[in-house]
Amino acid sequence: VRPFAFVEPEGLMATLTFLREHGHQAKLMAGGQSLLLGLKDRSVRPAYVVSLARIPELKVWRYSDHGELEIGAAVTYARLARVPLQGWHAEIAAVAGNLADRCVRNMGTIGGAACHGDPRFDFPTLLVGLRANVTIAGIDGSRVVSAEDFFDAGGVRLAASEIVTKFRFPQQSAFSAVAFEKFRYRMFDAALASVSVACARDAEGSLTELRVVVGAVDKSPSLVKGAVRGLIGKPFAEAYRPEFAVQVAEEIFGVQVPAGRMQRFKFELTKTLVANAMARVLPRLGRET
């Protein structure tokens, strides 16, 4: 570790004020699980490490008046895993409880994972997959961007003077069923490929939205646009074909078989994970009776 100054500003405004002056030399620390690894091997060398521990509003979650699920950026995985979320929101808690190891889940935060921007982490994929948006505070006020726009080619669109304060997932009615699937070598490893599927249908059983996002295979989560088109507006159970998984993989990787063992493996994994995720959502998409 290189020497740095550790600062713990009291409250959001004090933190933002500090960042306005020193943001470009500072690293924010929430749970520290990614930052400390970089500090220890001296690949990250900030002049200031700014603790977010004294900003209480980052640590809360709640349902908004409209039923949207709001999760503070400094909510830990362990805390989120224990939240009794209902309906498809429960998948968010399940993902939080099934990544890394217990020590990382106890300290690591959703905001930290998102801002680190590592596409192998689960939450970037999940945030884009569930059409979440990101609230970002600056000294002059807050702005809200979609998760899709937040993640950008391996990085995140966040100024050095800003802080991510919360994530907002859509209300229950937005989706009928959600499934997140991933593959990792070992229990505590980051994903080699991950897939988020979220779909909505109307009372007739016709599909109104199918949102498929593939993570860990590119620098940022990849939203599938083409392969889903043919299914919209149709009764899902009838229209769905197993070839869908192949179409998704080919859309992400190209029709040519990718070169290199790991890319080809991810291509094959994507097919499997899409099929597995679809198998989980399909039973919940039948005609309402």
Binding site: F183, Y185, E268
Partner: protein, 829 residues
């Protein structure tokens, strides 16, 4: 006989007569479990400085210049070193252990860097952070050279030389040593064979990966001229002698002390550059110097398992009898061999067991590449041999339509034939390998799993034997020693330089001493390993702890008992033959309530010497050594390098996920012959640890390099060592002891036997499950899935990975195999 080895509850060891054979709770564990054990990085000496090493970011480059002048001016910095400061002052080492004409190890890269992570310069400062900051200020000018990472490219005659200007006794170019086995007549075996199976196999580069890092504190006393080295090591005296040789100091002025050592696995058996660097700094400054390596440094500069390419062939008769084995091995030792050539010699010869193959022809080229140093690692060459040989056995069984269990049962050594001399020259004193084969098969329900096929499930077997200690070709010794002292209060102190790094020395040595001398287990203590008071011995490696050190301990305890009996016979006016030891007493047979306390006998010896028999030397401090009476290796590769051989037979029941390629081990059975088991719980731990290391080799561990020789996975985050969650839920251990008749006490080595069979047992099980024969390690999910897809796409019944993949670059078939350039000319065969 074949009871499962499970700790027998918490039965008090003090209730029954003898402790050998009981799962006495380990003396070591209290400190480890309470966090009070002290490893090298826990030691603090007043005034201690910190050394840090600048390592090469390139795998192969000329060093054009090093400038550390700016670093010397930085806060807290006390000194800096690089090669030019030590050339002509420090002697290269490594010649003795690797049997080379000239040592190939030096604290720093000289004209060239040979691998990423090689030492280039070092600084010493008041704090480790100042030292690290100062490293940033050192300027090194490199001229990068192409990295040679493929061992088969390295042996081509036109390949650039890695170690320039060095002459080898048996090698040429990047081949620094060669090894041969010439047993029987391989041409006749090939002619007479009904079935021949041949396959190119490759193995992976596995890390030493001891959790406790490599490191030392050097503490030179400029007044007495004595250099003390606290080191995380497996061998006090090999460390001391190599350091004394490197520094050209008298050996009685170097003291090596080991703190608690958190494993070594073979990677801490030799002197490394940082030990010399810390010593030189300490001697220059007269202050203690700490130098403990980080994980990234250990991955790059610690030793690894040598990877191999093997062109292996097996010759059989129609009834399944193996009549010949031929192999050409390209043995990749990385940039610097640390016992690497010994690995292929001992590992290949002993790896032929348990089949007494009459005709064997092996050529091995030991080759340098620009990869991390290779050398000793748990199993010492046997896992690489078994990966090829035990899969060939299954391929032969398939070709002959035989069951893999039956073909092995037909070929293994029968216990009734023991002692049995194999054509390789090994004398197997006793073995239960045949029973182990049957037990491993029946316990996993072999017959049912073979006949009732479940899609994507399979079962496989592999058999291995391991030497118990060895007379290595490079040095003609296999020596351990124990000194015992009965203290004046009846307690006993054990001195040994063969130290514990996971084997439970304090426990199993105390069990032996307690049984022989009669002192209570809790009154026996193992002194900390320290060359100031520990007798000379080779160290803890090669599965030598229980058998060789244990025998030295038994002999010392018997000497001590004899002296105690002499005093007791004199004082009690009893006949020597009529005395017994037990319950902290020496007493007339059958009268344990009478007799003399050990405390009294010790007291006579120290403070009441008129009680002693006439001419009795008044000392209860005795020493014994044991040097196994083994053979040196003959020029044809034969010889009995070990007194006894332990066995491990594995069966695995696996399931493959056809969507992800993940291999799940549903059940795993290990049937072992470890001879007389001193402490079943310790032996169980050794078997499980061995298995786990084999599991890592089989399923995930490997050094991944880019084309420039940069290590891409040099951290535990990326290096796929098995986690606790990767250990199969169902592992069953069975022990079928065939007590050694060659080792007094009957024990055989147990520390490494269960490593080697794991990769081929899983390889065979996977081949049975999905028809994919893996010839490359490790077997990761990505390889399994891609093999499965390719096999399905091409509709093949039997598929070899990677040989049948479209992008495979090596020779696919026997006609395209390379041959060794070595000739037998000039060899006295």
């Amino acid at each position: 006989m074949d009871d499962k080895v499970r700790p027998k509850g918490r039965s008090s060891p003090l209730q029954s007569g003898k402790l050998v054979g009981q799962s006495v709770p380990r003396k070591e564990d209290l400190a480890f479990l309470t966090g009070t054990a002290r490893y090298i990085d826990d030691l603090r000496i007043p005034g201690m400085l910190y050394a840090k090493i600048l390592r090469s970011p390139m795998a192969h480059a000329r060093v054009k210049g090093i400038d550390y002048s700016k670093a010397l001016g930085m806060p807290g910095v006390r000194g800096a070193l690089c090669a030019r400061d030590l050339i002509g002052k420090v002697k290269p080492w490594g010649d003795m252990m690797s049997d080379l004409l000239v040592g190939n190890l030096f604290p720093f890269a000289t004209e060239k860097v040979l691998y990423e992570g090689q030492e280039v310069a070092a600084v010493v400062a008041d704090t480790k952070y100042q030292a690290l900051d100062a490293l940033d200020a050192i300027r090194v000018e490199y001229e990068e050279l192409p990295a040679i990472i493929d061992p088969e490219a390295a042996i081509k005659p036109d390949c650039p030389i890695i170690h320039e200007g060095t002459n080898y006794e048996f090698g040429d170019g990047n081949i620094f040593d060669r090894y041969r086995i010439r047993v029987g007549d391989i041409a006749a075996a090939e002619r007479d064979a009904d079935v021949v199976v041949r396959q190119r196999f490759t193995t992976n580069k596995q890390a030493g990966a001891a959790l406790d890092p490599h490191g030392c504190i050097a503490d030179y006393d400029s007044f007495t001229g004595i250099l003390t080295l606290y080191a995380s090591t497996q061998s006090l005296y090999m460390m001391r002698d190599a350091l004394a040789d490197a520094l050209q100091m008298p050996r009685n002025r170097i003291r090596v002390v080991a703190p608690d050592v958190g494993a070594g696995f073979g990677s801490k058996a030799q002197l490394l550059g940082h030990d010399v660097i810390a010593s030189v700094f300490s001697m220059q400054l007269g202050k203690p110097v700490h130098c403990v390596l980080g994980r990234g440094e250990i991955f790059r500069a610690g030793t690894t398992r040598n990877s191999q390419v093997r062109y292996a062939e097996m010759f059989l008769k129609n009834d399944g009898t193996i009549i010949g084995y031929r192999d050409y091995i390209v043995h990749n030792c990385g940039a610097v061999s640390m016992l690497g050539n010994q690995v292929v010699q001992v590992g290949t010869g002993v790896g032929m067991l348990p089949y007494p193959i009459p005709n064997i022809h092996v050529d091995a080229d030991c080759v340098y590449t620009n990869l991390a140093p290779g050398g000793a690692l748990r199993g010492f060459g046997i896992p690489q041999t078994l990966w090829a040989k035990e899969q060939l056995v299954d391929m032969a069984a398939n070709a002959l339509g035989m069951d893999p269990v039956d073909i092995r049962a037909r070929n293994v050594i029968n216990s009734a034939d023991c002692p049995f001399r194999t054509p390789m020259g090994q004398i197997v004193d006793t073995t239960s390998v045949s029973d182990c084969v049957q037990k491993a098969a029946s316990a996993i329900d072999w017959k049912r799993l073979r006949s009732n096929r479940v899609p994507f499930e399979g079962v496989g077997m592999a058999v291995g034997m391991k030497y118990t200690s060895a007379r290595h070709p490079s040095f003609d010794t296999d020596l351990s020693a124990v000194r015992l002292r009965l203290e004046t209060d009846g307690t006993v102190t054990i001195y040994s330089s063969d130290l514990n790094h996971g084997q439970g020395h304090a426990t199993f040595l105390s069990q032996i001493v307690s049984d022989v001398v009669g002192a209570g287990f809790e009154k026996i203590r193992l002194a900390a390993p320290d060359t100031n008071n520990s007798p000379f011995g080779l160290g803890t490696w090669g599965s030598r702890g229980a058998a060789v050190l244990g025998t030295a301990c038994r002999l010392a305890a018997e000497r001590l008992r004899k002296k105690l009996f002499q005093i007791a016979a004199h004082v009690l006016d009893e006949r020597l033959e009529n005395l017994e030891a037990g319950g902290d007493k020496i007493y007339p047979r059958g009268s344990p309530e009478s007799g003399l306390w050990l405390e009294n006998l010790a007291g006579f010896c120290a403070y009441r010497t008129h009680q002693l028999p006439p001419d009795f030397e008044p000392s209860l401090e005795v020493m014994a050594t044991y040097d196994t009476p083994t053979d040196r290796q003959a020029p044809d590769g034969t010889g009995n390098l070990s007194m006894t051989y332990s066995t491990s037979v594995h069966t695995a029941h696996v399931r493959i996920n056809p969507g992800t390629g993940r291999v799940t081990i549903l059940r795993y059975v290990i049937a072992s012959d470890s001879g007389t088991v001193i402490n079943p719980q310790i032996v169980e731990g050794q078997h499980l640890g061995s298995f786990l290391m084999g599991l890592g080799m089989a399923t995930g561990e490997d050094y991944v390099y880019d084309d420039n020789g940069h290590l891409l996975n040099g951290s535990f985050k990326d290096y796929l060592a098995p986690l606790a969650t990767d250990v199969p839920d169902h592992i069953e251990l069975y022990e079928i002891p065939a007590p050694s008749t060659a080792i007094p006490g009957g024990q055989k080595g147990a520390g490494e036997t269960a490593t080697g069979p794991v990769p081929p047992a899983l390889g065979n099980a996977i081949a049975h499950a999905i028809g994919v024969r893996f010839t490359e390690l490790p077997i990761t999910a990505d390889r399994v899935l891609l093999a499965l897809r390719e096999k399905q796409a091409r509709g093949m019944e039997v598929f070899r990975y990677p040989d049948d993949m479209p992008d495979f670059k090596g020779p696919r078939n026997h006609d395209a195999w390379p041959r060794s350039r070595a000739t037998d000319e000039g060899l006295f065969l």
